[in-house]
């Protein structure tokens, strides 16, 4: 079975939510994520469309403006909690790595 929805966030989910710390048009996220990550992470347009729908349904973001087909969104408290949970999970991973290999020991 696939993992339970939003138990953990994929990299794409993480950065989309990060973009929505401030109010943002959905389409603009397509440009912001690569800018934010130095082109390391790209989100496909179909994937973004679907994730925004799912985040909305899960109450992790909310719509702030609807101008024709253009819609803007912002992170909700629940969305922020999810981001923090993911942040802590990544931090635990980092500290585990450091405990094993020592700080700064990256090939």
């Amino acid at each position: 079975m696939p993992r339970a929805k939003f138990q953990t966030l994929t990299e794409q989910m993480f950065y989309i939510l990060l973009c929505l710390k401030e109010e943002c048009y959905g389409l603009d996220i397509l440009d912001r994520v690569p800018n934010m990550t130095g082109n390391r992470v790209n989100v496909g347009s179909g994937t973004l469309y679907n994730l925004l729908e799912q985040f909305l349904e899960a109450g992790m973001i909310r719509e702030t403006k609807v101008e024709g087909r253009r819609r803007s969104y912002i992170l909700t408290g629940k969305g922020r909690e999810m981001l923090e949970k993911e942040y802590r999970r990544i931090q635990v991973q980092v500290s585990d790595y450091q405990r094993i290999f020592g700080e700064g020991e990256v090939k």
Partner: protein
Amino acid sequence: MRMTKRLVPQFTFYDRTGIEALLEKKAEEGWLLEKISNFGWKLKRIKPKKIHYAVTYFPKVSAFDPKPSEELLRFQEFCAHTGWKLAASTAQMQIFYNEAENPIPIETDPEIELENIEASAKKSFLPAYWAWFACSVLQMVLLLYRLSEDFIGVISSNVNLFTGVSWIILFLMSLMEILGFYSWRKKGRKAIETDGSFVPTRGFRNIVLALSGLVMICFAALAVSLGGKYGLILLICTGTYFLVLVTVWGITEGMKKLGFHAEDTRLVTIIASIVLSILLVIVMIPKVIEAIQVRWPKENQTTYTYKGSVFTSYQDNMPLKLEDLTDIGDTEYSYYFRGDESLIASEMTGNQHPHMDQLGADDLNYAIYEVKFSFLFRSVLNDLLHRFDDWYGMNDQPINYREVDADPWNADRVFQEYAGDEAENEFLLCYGNRIVFIRPDFVLNEEQMKTVAEKLGK
């Protein structure tokens, strides 16, 4: 120079990998997808180039939507933002192309992509194939029942063979597509769980093309074997079937153009399909056939009136007549010798009956069954030996067959019908791949048996 061309690609609905590969190849040959309709894919000529295609699935739309929904248009705007232009769409399937060298794919999360394909398949592809599967299973059960009841009768008809083979092919195709989808979904879920990758889809295009070709060959063989007027009837039936398809399509498209709600259009389409199909089978085709037959001369048959009722008298060329066996005097007879023949077997029935005003005179009844492949012989013989298993003859005794001396009949084997232990004047005679069932009105002497062998045996 042709500026457009059409394709009927026979792709499985969810085979996005195969569709993308074909369209990218076509772009390199100078063809760009322009439109998808019920009549195939339309491509327009372009300068040959490398184009990327992306087939995506948008489960929220319906094939009956009067116009693209706002949600779909918003989705398409998202795609356009990253350079993906809509080439064509059909129901949930949206096909985009991008001329950039390395475009960002539309789908970058395999889990979401798989969810969308699954949701779309459940809305269109799967119900259609499950319906096909259910119909084909029902037809095959009916066919098996008919085979168990009248094996030789079924296999002696090309129409039965054609419809039987067609339903078996339909069964195999629907089973293959359904199992193929669930197998791909299982692999896809596992891959997402283990390494987050998307398992390429794999359609059955070549197999579907081969099986469709086989149906066409069967159809052509049927038309040729029926020949002449019956071939014309087949052609009219096929034409009427396509007329129904086009009419239903016209109703659906008309309602969409007039802006009816998708659910209303869907309901009307289903009702129109059912009503027109029933009309086709029950009313139109029999009427058309009747109209044609009225104008054809009735071969070898006349009518006579007896006590105010009209009876048919046949004058077919029976291979064995009563007069070959005995003196019939001035009795007027109807000579009926007709049946069916398929690519693998034949069944001919011979009945010589006196006219109604001379009832009481002897009559003669027989049937000749022949298989064209030896391996079928045993099944046909078993079928004939057991066809009266549930019947009762004289004195309410169960009917059975017993093997008797074959020499007087010059046959390979002979079986006589019994009602309990009482022998009846009915025989099954085996001559090579031929079996003759004969029920004379009187007990035959050895000379008459030899005549039967000469006329009806090989």
